[in-house]
């Protein structure tokens, strides 16, 4: 029995999403085709688009389907900045690599990329941002909620600030979707991903104000508003909508039980991130003196799946840039684990963690290496 506490990485497919996709997989029809079969497929796509838009307080016409959150972030960051004569790009220091790496790519193209600092809880410093804003800023990107430590950012405040200064604002809401009731009506650019809410991997969306001009990344048939090309994934999009429409349990009580339990069985553990303004499914701790990767391995062997928060493709744990930006030193950044809950999490999952954790911490501490 695996106790899966890594829902922030990906969460199991919701049965509603599976059913919606199964209903489409047997059908033929390219949503861009003009015949009956094509129109049938297009109808599924458009109904899904409208359903998703309604659930997040957006206009259907603003929803641009992509291959996932990473593509949505890339399209927004590169597409908006490249379309602007302005030179500066401001991104928070705790962004996901799906935003940081496109920003770095822009830096190679001559843009000036600057990091917006965060406080010790991982919350962006709005007054610092205010100081940084001027007429030469092409884009501000601040995530809705952090994928590692769970801190929720003052997105509405930042959006208002940017709007007042005439600066396009993009937010990566991949972790926030499904955890927070989103109202995107005043946010010009938002990246979403289906699989974080129990939809399929490989589907996402950029929700982009129609009056924001963006330069495409992928050229082809121009299927999505001439901004994004590629045959639309009818089944995947239907699965995305069904997953988002499914009832969401309130995970905060179980998360609070997890946090209390961890602090009880490992008293010197440190809860990272904002204790109040945080995602309901996220708990993130540092375990002083414990290499996170050793702890992960020991918990894995005990049937509990957790995350160190950031690893490169080779599987080598890197000190988290999020924790470093929050002012943690490298050894703390290497001694951290993220526990994240999802729609099918149960108290038994937390119990399994709490029973395996003390011995794992003790062993990992003996392994040292920090």
């Amino acid at each position: 029995m695996v106790h899966y506490l890594d829902h922030a990485a990906t969460t199991p497919l919701r049965p509603q999403a599976l059913a919606a996709m199964q209903a489409q997989w047997g059908q033929v029809g390219n949503p861009s085709s003009l015949h009956t079969a094509g129109r049938q497929a297009r109808r599924v796509v458009e109904e899904s688009r409208e359903q998703i838009a309604a659930l997040i307080g957006a206009k259907p016409a603003d929803v641009i389907f992509t291959s996932g959150g990473t593509e949505a972030d890339n399209l927004a960051v590169k597409g908006l900045a490249r379309n602007s004569q302005r030179r500066r790009v401001l991104v928070s220091a705790v962004e996901h690599h799906a935003v940081l790496d496109p920003a770095n790519a822009l830096a190679e193209e001559g843009k000036i990329v600057e990091l917006i600092p965060v406080d010790a809880l991982g919350r962006v410093d709005v007054s610092a941002l205010e100081q940084m804003l001027d007429d030469d800023v092409a884009l501000v990107a601040i995530m809705w909620a952090n994928n590692e430590v769970g801190t929720i950012q003052p997105v509405a405040e930042v959006a208002g600030l940017c709007a007042a200064r005439g600066v396009p604002f993009h937010t990566d809401a991949v972790q926030a979707l499904g955890q927070i009731d989103l109202d995107l009506s005043d946010i010009p650019s938002v990246a979403l991903s289906a699989h974080k809410v129990g939809g399929p991997v490989g589907v996402g969306a950029l929700v982009l104000d129609r009056d924001l001009a963006v330069r495409p990344l992928v050229h082809g048939g121009g299927q999505e508003r001439d901004v994004r090309s590629g045959t639309l994934d009818t089944a995947g999009i239907a699965g995305f909508a069904a997953a988002l429409a499914a009832d969401k349990p309130d995970l905060a009580p179980l998360r609070d039980a997890l946090v209390d339990g961890v602090l009880r069985v490992v008293p010197d553990a440190i809860l990272n991130g904002d204790p109040v303004d945080r995602l309901a499914n996220n708990a993130h701790f540092s375990f002083p003196g414990c290499p996170g990767d050793a702890l992960l391995m020991l918990l894995d062997a005990a049937g509990v799946a957790v995350s160190t928060g950031s690893a490169c493709t080779a599987g080598i744990p890197q000190p988290s840039h999020v924790l470093l930006a929050m002012g943690a030193d490298e050894s703390v950044a290497r001694s951290s684990l993220r526990f994240s809950l999802g729609w099918n999490s149960a108290p038994e999952d937390v119990d399994a963690l709490l029973s395996a954790l003390p011995a794992a911490v003790e062993r990992a501490r003996r392994a040292g290496g920090l």
């Binding site: 050793a294 391995m297 020991l298 490169c312 080779a314 599987g315 080598i316 890197q318 062993r363 290496g369």
Partner: protein
């Protein structure tokens, strides 16, 4: 036993891990990240991604858990720093020996034990045999692949926690076994280069790291400068090729590297008679079991050199057959038949002409 199988991404370690699984052990595959960030393809530094991939796929085929353990910093601080320090001191180190001593059977073993494992298994070709004074380290059955030399620095405590499942096998059978087991690395070429110098240009690496410039190649017989070299470190005693002497030696005979002085960045060349060695003095002695004060031994000075008979007495070795091209810093391994007794680092040599047999 709970065993960490070190998976390099090559065929040997994959088959070794498979045999550990077959033997009934509870096996966890671990790939060691040792390389520096300069291998990285992109912004975030990583090790050689292809090897990690191959190791991961081998673990998948065997149905064992797989993790990457990052020892890059420890590797840098021990093996790499030692490698550079030895070359700057004019010695010729063996980084594989150093890695076994400091990383694979030290740092990895310590971490494994702390995390509840009993032993570390690798794809080295060597045999472990129970004997009257503990675990004995012996040569592998396959003489072409025997790696007992690079393991000779392991002590009894390390050997007791080690497993070498390939020691009784020949390489071609290991490859056949890999193919039979469906391991995709069955045809992967053997690695020969120093892992942290993937392009094989040791001299270029040393030149860059040690900041060496060009210097003279001096003939020991005439004292004349015969040419220029591109950084003294990395020239090997006994080396003849690649010297590109601008003028022949006065006696018209071939010249070999007979000494390297890194502090003055000078390479000395001389006739082959200068290379004949009759005695060794060693330091950093290490024993696989009980220390040996005095014994007739077989002495091997490189991973695939022919061993020669000699007499070991304290830190001195008198050879009964001459060795050629011996550099300070090389590891001398002492064998009793097929058994490794221990090893020492060669501190100095004495010429064959001056040897004094007791």
């Amino acid at each position: 036993m709970r065993v960490v199988a070190a998976l390099s991404g090559g065929v040997d370690s994959a088959v070794a891990a498979a045999r550990l699984v077959d033997a009934g052990h509870d096996v966890t595959g671990v790939h060691l990240a040792l390389a520096e960030k300069r291998y990285a393809g992109g912004g975030r530094g990583c090790c050689t991604l292809e090897d990690v991939h191959d190791a991961r796929r081998a673990a998948d085929v065997l149905g064992i858990p797989f993790y990457v353990w990052d020892f890059a910093q420890r590797f840098q601080e021990t093996v790499l720093d030692d490698f550079l320090a030895e070359y700057s001191a004019g010695r010729t180190p063996n980084p594989c020996v150093s890695c076994n001593q400091h990383i694979k059977f030290a740092a990895v073993l310590e971490r494994a034990q702390a995390l509840g494992f009993d032993a570390v298994g690798t794809g080295h070709y060597a045999q472990l045999v129970s004997g009257p004074d503990g675990v004995e380290l012996h040569r592998a059955v396959d003489p072409d692949k025997d790696q007992s030399y690079v393991l000779a620095v392991l002590d009894q405590a390390q050997l007791r926690r080690s497993l070498f499942p390939l020691g009784d096998s020949r390489k071609e059978h290991v490859r056949q076994e890999a193919a039979r087991r469906g391991l995709l690395v069955a045809d992967k070429p053997d690695s020969h280069d120093i892992c942290f110098i993937p392009d094989g240009d040791t001299r270029g690496f040393l030149r860059e790291r040690l900041g060496l410039g060009d210097g003279p190649i001096v003939d020991t017989e005439s004292g004349r400068t015969l040419g220029q070299h591109s950084g003294a470190a990395g020239y090997t005693i006994g080396q003849r090729r690649g010297l590109f002497l601008e003028q022949p030696a006065a006696d018209g005979r071939a010249r070999y590297v007979v000494d390297v002085d890194v502090p003055s960045n000078t390479v000395f060349v001389g006739p082959p008679t200068r290379l004949r060695v009759g005695g060794l003095r060693v330091d950093r002695l290490r024993w696989t079991a009980m220390p040996v004060a005095s014994a007739d031994v077989l002495v091997q000075i490189r991973a695939h050199a022919q061993p020669v008979p000699g007499h070991l007495d304290g830190d001195a070795v008198v050879l009964r057959e001459e060795l050629s091209g011996v550099a300070a810093g090389q590891i001398a391994v002492f064998y009793d038949g097929t058994r490794v007794l221990g090893s020492g680092r060669i501190a100095s040599t004495t010429p064959w002409s001056e040897r004094a047999l007791g």
